[in-house]
Symmetry: C2
Subunit: 356 residues, 2 copies
């Protein structure tokens, strides 16, 4: 049970909770309770213990607790943008499954900064996190692969596990668990549905051109066209990011440029939400004048008017699966590569071409 204590000033002279207990004239377990803040302790006792802590200049050491097996085991979850609802739902799945399996999950939002990601991973490794889950696409460069391979090795050496969820996989032999969802397949099915309604000029509001998730969705868009014998006009492929504001801006630009299209595929539902407002502002009816579809099936996709046709990605389940796999509770072998399917959810935002 003991809360390990080490001297603030570092280096030598480690000590235990018992030194504080002796100085405060209470039991070691009382010190633990006061420091943990978890159980009722009288105000007088609390004051005595906190004074002893200050006088001895000690600070509790989570690592020592983890080593002793007394601390809460942890899991780490790294995402690029905490305001994106799809990954927030994945984080929720991670948190719930981690809780079910007795782990605390820590989230770090990096805003795409590789250095911060590495700092966080290093901290989690030192913390002896059971697993580090990286989510969301990235640019799949040699530099990415080498850096991520180093991270995987360094985590493995510390007894931890790297999980890549929607991130580009590494080469064979890397000590990682890879969980992907089928961006290309989902986009293919969605665009095939739109083409089957007779549309031939389909605007694509995509993500960053080197981002693997965005590229997967774009590949699906292109493949669905080719399967129908339609050569897509490259002028209809626009690039931004995955936010509502990006969708709004790209849609306004497309309208201002006079691009011709009868349907729009947005790379995410958030992009679709912004695009829908831009179409509305331009006096265009959806789907009467323009059909629109999104990607992700975040909960409020059904609250847009018209309710949004989109691709369902099981984000919460992805989060749960990442945790189960990383902790080895799912029976999957250590280096399994999992690919989850996605499916189209048909609502009211896509109509037959020529309906207007």
């Amino acid at each position: 049970m003991g809360v390990g204590l080490t001297r603030k000033s570092g280096a030598g002279g480690r000590s235990t909770v018992r030194d504080v207990a002796a100085r405060a004239g209470v039991s070691a377990s009382t010190v633990s309770r006061v420091l943990g803040g978890e159980y009722p302790v009288s105000a007088a006792t609390r004051t005595r213990v906190l004074r002893a802590v200050r006088e001895l200049d000690y600070v509790a050491d989570a690592r020592a607790r983890a080593v002793a097996g007394a601390g809460t085991p942890t899991l780490a979850f790294v995402l690029e943008d905490i305001t994106g609802p799809s990954f927030a739902h994945m984080a929720y799945g991670v948190e719930r499954e981690a809780a079910r399996l007795g782990h605390l999950s820590l989230v770090c939002s990096t805003d795409g900064d590789v250095r911060r990601e590495l700092e966080f991973i290093e901290m989690m490794r030192a913390q002896r996190a059971a697993a580090v889950i990286l989510v969301g696409g990235a640019a799949d460069t040699p530099e990415y692969r080498e850096r991520t391979r180093r991270v995987a090795d360094s985590l493995a050496a510390a007894g931890s596990r790297l999980v890549l969820c929607g991130r580009p996989p590494l080469g064979p032999g890397a000590p990682v668990t890879v969980i992907e969802y089928d961006n290309e397949g989902g986009a293919y099915a969605l665009v095939a549905h739109v083409l089957a309604q007779g549309h031939r000029r389909v605007l694509f509001l995509g993500g960053k051109p080197d981002h693997t998730t965005a590229m997967g969705r774009q590949r699906g868009y292109l493949a669905a066209h080719r399967a129908r014998g339609v050569e897509p006009d490259p002028a209809l492929l626009l690039h931004g990011d995955f936010t509502r504001d990006s969708g709004h801006r790209l849609m306004r630009q497309a309208l201002a440029r006079g691009l011709e299209f009868s349907a729009v595929i947005a790379a995410t539902d958030m992009v679709a939400a912004g695009a829908l407002t831009a179409l509305h502002e331009a006096g265009l009816a959806v789907p009467g004048d323009v059909s629109l579809a999104g990607y992700d099936d975040i909960p409020f996709a059904r609250d847009l008017r018209p309710a949004l046709t989109t691709v369902h990605v099981p984000y919460e389940e992805l989060g749960r699966l990442a945790v189960r796999t990383a902790l080895g509770h799912g029976g999957e072998s250590a280096d399994e590569h999992l690919l989850l399917g996605t499916h189209v959810v048909v609502r009211d935002s896509v109509a037959a071409y020529g309906g207007h």
Copy 2:
């Protein structure tokens, strides 16, 4: 620069990165680079270092690095529900401001579980986080105040700072920074706007009855009625949570029960989104048949149709302010209690009573 290393098996025998370096036949800084995963190192060197790490059964110690001043200083952010967009935007503000000030921010979503919150805080205290920011309402009970006071004392003893952001404040003298946004004032202004349009039976889709944020908004609803000399019908006060699904469910129930109302105030924009869909499903036009308003002004409030009238809460700025205040960069005194104002954003979802 040294990455502190301690023996996995705990207790005595601390050592340094130099032991690993000696065994691997490389410099200490090379070991740091390999373990940090940050810089290019040849594959052969990496293999040698990782083998030495495994053989010595060592693990890097973030706490030791922090003590030595070499690690990244951290900030911790605790919220109840990571899928709620308002707090996600606050977390984004925290992350950006923390980054600007050279800190890494860690997020923990507790799903309302007090024990997990305490475990995380204990870990962050051991980690020597510069501050721990708790956000979102809670039940303001004696137990809450006592527990939170203990947490504040224990963090203060470790040189860290507790920030309560939208959480109930503690009594005087507690070592905490309190930042509140005006839930009651915002709701008062919004409901006054709705009453000024002639509405007299205004349904309130509220949050949990003991949750301080929800109660503040409800107090504003009641006060605005009384200021107009209108006694609100208690049957019009419904309680759920702050999610889209709760809004959808409560709205359906209100319609099924045959409650009479001409306007709806939702406790959050997410609740409003769900309510809007339920109204739509019932064949009711907004605002033609029923007026509707939300609270929070999350980005996609303007993507709903009609665009949602709501109360703007500066969540991202709240996050930035919490960080600046906690780190003492804002010039505010240590125990200042800050209250941020909110304002109504009038869009298209509220119409004059009798317009239908």
